[in-house]
Symmetry: C2
Subunit: 314 residues, 2 copies
């Protein structure tokens, strides 16, 4: 992604960074350090950047906008901490996960601590519609995670995949983009920014799923081929499996075979197949929708940045 597009809100992001970390963690410094480390390693701050771009474009009051922008990044981090525990992931953002360093009990509580902190930040916006949307989004995210671990291995067709990434990723991008319009009390803008955020999130997750096949672990900060290794079928695998349903490796995998040699063959077959291009096409359709949803927002730097940002996903 091209992060130069968010130059316009670079200063705002620094303020939001301060708001995000404006808590005191109640435990010994090693655990506090892990959390600090995770927040510092914290990637691109895309969700607050989107909130700030929409907020500035819609001339939302500064303080509620900063609190809201901080809250979406904190809730994102909280769900990652619990997710990594659920998935037994050991590496995130290139550093050991909380669950890799601390017992499950502490990991649960560190996640809960951030849930509570996010709730305080969102309460500070003083906006009931924002609080409602935020609570509903948290429910959608958890709901999606529970469905995912309940469904078990290699469950997914296209519809299930879309519904899964909608809950897991797009919902939080959606609220990040819609929140500012709700703060501004602008229902029309809320609908259009919601469409942008959802489409952004879908494209973003598809791009991430493609990267799990073609990216290298140095750049992504996590081992590649993880999804397939865990039996989780993402878009490239689903499209490849559909196009090669007669292939004996595909049939064996579908029947539950997870032999490392089989997985390695499938991984190589998928990454060099046209399923990667078809996945990119799918991401581009979402990007097109996101761009369309911007049409009636005020022209200017913020709208241009939102357009450039979503176009830079793939």
């Amino acid at each position: 992604m091209d992060l130069s597009t968010i130059e316009l809100v670079r200063e705002d992001l620094k303020t939001v960074e301060g708001r995000m970390r404006n808590f005191s963690f109640p435990a010994s410094s090693p655990v506090a350090d892990s959390l600090e480390h995770l927040l510092a390693a914290g990637g691109k701050r895309l969700r607050p950047a989107l909130a700030l771009l929409f907020g500035r474009m819609l001339r939302v009051a500064q303080e509620p906008l900063f609190a809201f922008s901080a809250s979406v990044e904190i809730i994102h981090t909280a769900t990652l901490i619990h997710d990594d525990l659920v998935d037994h992931s050991a590496i995130r953002r290139g550093i050991p996960t909380v669950n890799a360093k601390w017992p499950a009990g502490m990991t649960v509580l560190v996640g809960d601590f951030l849930f509570a902190w996010a709730a305080q930040l969102v309460a500070a916006t003083g906006s009931t519609p924002v609080v409602e949307k935020f609570a509903a989004t948290l429910a959608t995210i958890v709901d999606g995670e529970i469905r995912q671990i309940s469904a078990g291995d290699a469950c997914c067709g296209l519809d299930e995949y879309e519904s899964r990434i909608q809950s897991k990723t797009a919902a939080l991008f959606e609220v990040s983009c819609t929140g500012p319009a709700l703060l501004a009390g602008d229902t029309g803008a809320a609908e259009r920014s919601s469409e942008y955020g959802r489409s952004f999130g879908m494209a973003f997750q598809i791009a991430d799923d493609i990267l799990d096949f073609i990216g290298d672990s140095v750049n992504t900060g996590k081992p590649s081929g993880q999804d397939l290794a865990q039996g989780l079928l993402t878009l490239p695998a689903i499209l490849y499996f559909q196009a090669h349903s007669g292939d004996p490796d595909v049939s064996a995998f579908r029947a539950g075979d997870r032999e490392p040699g089989l997985r390695a063959r499938l991984f190589d077959a998928i990454r060099s197949s046209d399923a990667i291009d078809h996945s990119r096409d799918s991401a581009r359709r979402y990007i097109g929708r996101a761009v369309e949803s911007l049409a009636s927002f005020p022209k200017g730097g913020h709208r241009d940045a939102l357009e450039d940002l979503v176009k830079s996903i793939v």
Copy 2:
């Protein structure tokens, strides 16, 4: 406790019970059944009963009051689910805990699901002060839990004990009692109900800690002597240890000895000592404060019920 005192809000409690369960759980029926089971086994509904008594006394609008009353019981249940995972508890309310039946990952997500549901319920009150107080309370609870597991074995003197039960128990009773006054927009009532709730919670937790020594597991729904077995010092043990600091068993326990024979001797010594009566006296002081805080509320059935309820704790 004498639950006949909450007869006045018996019908309201049925409505709140309906609100509490008005979600659809996204996973297979066995997990949904566990959650349903836990909610059904769900004890005395003291927190919603307190919210309803204050709400009716202060003539708060019905719908926000029901949503709020449901939210405090749901957040209570969510924290119990994560607590039992953190503490490896196997039995709660006389039935197996969620973590005893399901993997840690599912247990984390079931708790998160209830956090999200509580957030939706509290958002439905439409009251920013209530949402703020609720979020701050959740932070206090998690903060207390993190401090507790970080402090490790047998940490506690009297001050630490009070601060621990304030976070762990009294904070949620406090918000349960204060929320209705905040819904009514009555700052003076909020302060007095907050004092009532905090004192109620302190007395309640002390009574519970006494019961861990003198209760039988059939009535309490959990094994007795648990706290001491886990190295957690509660009021009876703290008072006994203070009064018998020269006792070799006390010194051995303080030095980290957890030999079962030693624990059994200490358990019997504490339960038959006057530390139990002194703990009751401490609970009664909190009850006295709670009763005083009711003085300037409107006279009538609801105030009488609140007085009788807190007096029935010990």
